[in-house]
């Protein structure tokens, strides 16, 4: 009788590993798209990552940073597949090259296309650095751990990436626009809508 109760308790309890993984998947997938440049390859990569992570879940400490852990596995998987297959994998321009039609309302599609092209021109290490810090929401310490480099290296990659992007896009107004940033951009830029 006691056994039955215990079993049903185990079965009813949602696996928090699975739940936490689910919560991370959208961001993990976006990072995968930024690495591979293609949605189909990104989904394969995320799938491989999920299986790897599941097999390794005993090595993950519950309550620690599952997002950084999953990003590390995905990134390692990506580069090890790249090494196995050779650079031919890099047939695309890299970084969000597909689905150009998807863009948030406040940006014109031309504008975002330019940005994607600029992003694609960055060296791999700088691109991933600027994405992990600027979009995935990691701290420099976390990003450095994910990329297996020093924090200072991560900072300099981000800084070089930003400078390069600004050069390519000839963005001069890097400083804060103030609280009314969006409308300031709208009125001061010549984005096509």
């Amino acid at each position: 009788m006691l056994l039955v109760t215990e079993n049903s308790a185990v079965a009813a309890e949602p696996t928090s590993f699975k739940r936490e993984m689910l919560a991370t998947l959208p961001s993990l997938r976006a990072f995968a798209v930024s690495l591979t440049g293609k949605h189909d390859k990104a989904d394969d990569l995320v799938q491989d990552t999920v299986m790897k992570a599941w097999a390794k879940q005993s090595s993950f400490e519950m309550g620690t940073n599952i997002k950084a852990w999953l990003f590390t596995i995905l990134r390692n998987e990506f580069y090890s597949q790249m090494r196995k297959r050779g650079r031919e994998v890099q047939d695309s321009d890299g970084a969000f090259t597909e689905r150009l039609s998807v863009h948030p309302a406040q940006y014109g599609s031309m504008d975002m296309q330019d940005f994607k092209k600029a992003l694609a021109q960055l060296p791999d290490d700088q691109r991933e650095a600027v994405i992990l810090i600027g979009a995935s929401g990691f701290s420099y310490e976390e990003a450095a751990e994910i990329c297996d480099c020093a924090v200072g290296t991560m900072k300099s990659r981000v800084s070089r990436a930003r400078t390069r992007l600004q050069d390519i896009l000839k963005i001069t107004g890097e400083a804060d626009y103030g609280p009314d940033a969006v409308s300031a951009q709208v009125t001061t830029s010549n984005h096509s809508f």
């Binding site: 185990v10 699975k18 689910l22 975002m112 600027v130 979009a135 600004q166 107004g173 890097e174």
Partner: protein
């Protein structure tokens, strides 16, 4: 005076967060990066991926139940 300066520095650091690297909330590059990334995030997770996770989880649940039953005997 000293303390005031320190507080200001700290506030700038926490408030602006990433202002120094040009990726903060009100910067053009930061906003565009997040817009691109966000667009992919909003697509949702493909069913095949959700199915995979379900299968992995139910396989594990089944194994756990089996083990519990075995240990209970």
């Amino acid at each position: 005076m000293m303390k005031e300066k320190l507080v200001t520095q700290q506030r700038m650091r926490t408030q602006a967060g990433r202002a120094e690297d040009g990726l903060g909330p009100n910067t053009d590059i930061g906003a565009r990066l997040r817009a691109l990334y966000g667009a992919v995030q909003e697509e949702g997770v493909p069913d095949q991926l959700l199915d995979l996770l379900e299968r992995l989880d139910s396989a594990e649940q089944a194994q756990r139940t089996k083990n519990a039953a075995r240990d209970g005997e």
